[in-house]
């Protein structure tokens, strides 16, 4: 079989299983079984289990970067661009549910933080620089770090707590309607923040 296919099948299985069970609770045997591939091939193609996770994250962040860059070119006005960005991010998280779970889980455990920071850092710096540059006089208590953390949490929390929300509300928080509602809410809240920050760009 084409080794590229083999690698893809392994990554696919790892994606689902890491997302479902978590990195630790997933065994290389699980991955082998689910992907229909010999266990030794995982090590042959990717190296250690840690490296497999890294390869997976690599793919995720590449796709995420693509999605965000794509969103940026869509509109002209700043407000519209921000909305596009938020929507694209939410759509990405909705489409790659495992990603949120994996990142959240590993960040919470402090274990693969370095690798995640490594990929996030450029995006974060971009955001800070952009905010610092485009906002004339930041209101007290609304510096770039606070704002970015807030907006990030705004988008991500819905996905992190998806399972909890499902139990709590009895409805599927990932249905198209529910996702659309969350996106509207996020847009409104970010609008409020923007209005507050408003040294006018």
């Amino acid at each position: 079989m084409d080794p590229a296919q083999t690698k893809e099948k392994i990554l696919e299985a790892a994606d689902v299983l890491f997302g479902e069970l978590g990195f630790d609770a997933t065994t290389t045997r699980d991955i082998a079984e689910r992907s229909g591939v010999n266990k030794a091939l995982i090590h042959y193609h990717f190296g250690a289990k840690d490296d497999l996770l890294e390869a997976l994250l690599e793919g995720y962040y590449a796709k995420l970067g693509e999605a965000l860059r794509g969103a940026l070119g869509r509109s002209d006005t700043l407000a519209a661009q921000i909305e596009d960005l938020l929507d694209a991010y939410a759509d990405f998280l909705a489409e790659h549910r495992s990603f949120t779970r994996i990142v959240q889980r590993e960040v919470a455990s402090g274990r693969h933080v370095a690798r995640i920071v490594e990929r996030t850092l450029p995006l974060f710096r971009l955001g800070v620089d952009w905010l610092d540059g485009s906002v004339r006089r930041m209101p007290k208590d609304f510096d770039a770090v606070q704002l970015l953390t807030t907006v990030y949490g705004l988008v991500v929390t819905w996905f992190t707590y998806g399972e909890v929300l499902k139990e709590l509300t009895g409805k599927d928080p990932f249905s198209p309607a529910a996702l659309a509602a969350r996106k509207r809410h996020v847009r409104k809240v970010v609008g409020l923040l923007l209005a507050e920050v408003e040294g006018r760009t």
Copy 2:
């Protein structure tokens, strides 16, 4: 030795280790070693490893409930009460760093969600009922579930991403000054939300 002391020492070690390494990556031997207690005693006093986690969460939620109830009685006006509540929550998370990490981690993995939901549900229902009851006409896209998710994320994200923020900013996000700054920011944002919702209580 007093068995109550033994149990406490085990819980203390589990608290630190679950928070630091995560539930899966922590072995019962780790806990035994750190608490200076024989490994078999963990099973004698708590049963399986899962049950130990449950006992730990039990204690956390009891303390959290206490902290939140305590905060509610402190002020008279609604706005002040909300601020007290947010502050108390943030203080609790700051004091029990492991708690955030454990909950976030287990929620993200979907593994012990049932137990966590069980404890969160009453608080959530309380919040929803209170919001629905006290707000005359909820603006579009600001229903109770959206608002609670947003405010929850607002508080929690800072702690969940503490390690990442440390790397990103180079400063300790849990220093008293940093925590105070985050609390001020959260208060301001929640103030904005409140002003928006404002059918006046």
